[in-house]
Amino acid sequence: MKGFAERDGAAVATLDDDERLVIARIVADVGLLLGGEDFGAERQSSLPHREDLAEALAFLDALADSPAEPDDPALLRLLPNAAPEDREVAEEFRRLTQDDLRASKLARLRRIWDELSTEGGEWVVPEADVMATAAALTDVRLVLASRLGLERDEDAEALHEEIARATAALEQASPAEVGIDPERLWLGMVYDALTWLQESLVSLTLGGQR
């Protein structure tokens, strides 16, 4: 994976087929969590079926398994309580805004899924789509972070160190021998990769803006 860099006024990242497949899948899973239709069922992705990635991709699908109830912590991060100490205000806000928020988040995820489900090694984000793409990456990372139990800044730092340690240990031994939960490790690695990708996108100043 090569992070976003500027080319002709657009942000361009380079992903291999596996990376496209994984990111497209997780984007679709977050869409399902938000109550969207199944992106993949409607239009066949041109991405190849990969038996060797099946276990890892099953971890992603489990993200969307929990029913989309308002008390699902991952969904609550996407559609948070706007007034935790004032129930009337919170309920009114949810009633007024929830449908629009869901729709705009789904539309952004959908656009990324479409882009990543077509052939090609590049992910091109025009300047006008940079913030929408960054916002969609935030939504995906919020869901992963919720499943990984990241609640405070220290949790994110601890996860990062845990992954570094695990990756080093795995050069010598299997996950079972190292005592690592493969699902947590894999989701954590996806989270770290998406964080890095989002940072590369957001830190670009396209066309000399600002």
Partner: protein, 95 residues
């Protein structure tokens, strides 16, 4: 403070005693500092240095008041922050 007054007109940034409601953005472990700064620049039309100062306030103090005004205005701002994936709330000011 002419700049501040212009910002008030644009997006309601800055607080006045008589404003009954405020929009608060809270710290979370997921949102990147660079992203939060850009959101504040883009949505609240803050100059970069002020957007960074607000972002640091969120990061270091756990929260920052980004705007003040009517409840309806604050609902619009909070909805925008939620759309960006930031955790924002509204409440009566002076709490």
């Amino acid at each position: 403070m002419g700049t501040r007054e212009q910002l008030d007109a644009q997006a309601g940034v800055g607080t006045r005693v008589q404003d009954p409601w405020v929009t608060i953005v809270w710290n979370d472990p997921v949102n990147l500092m660079s992203y939060v700064t850009r959101v504040f620049q883009e949505y609240f039309h803050l100059p970069r240095h002020e957007a960074e100062a607000r972002m640091r306030e969120v990061h270091e103090n756990g929260r920052s008041i980004l705007s003040a005004g009517s409840r309806e205005q604050m609902e619009v701002h909070v909805q925008a922050m939620h759309s960006y994936g930031l955790w924002a709330t509204l409440e009566r000011s002076g709490k």
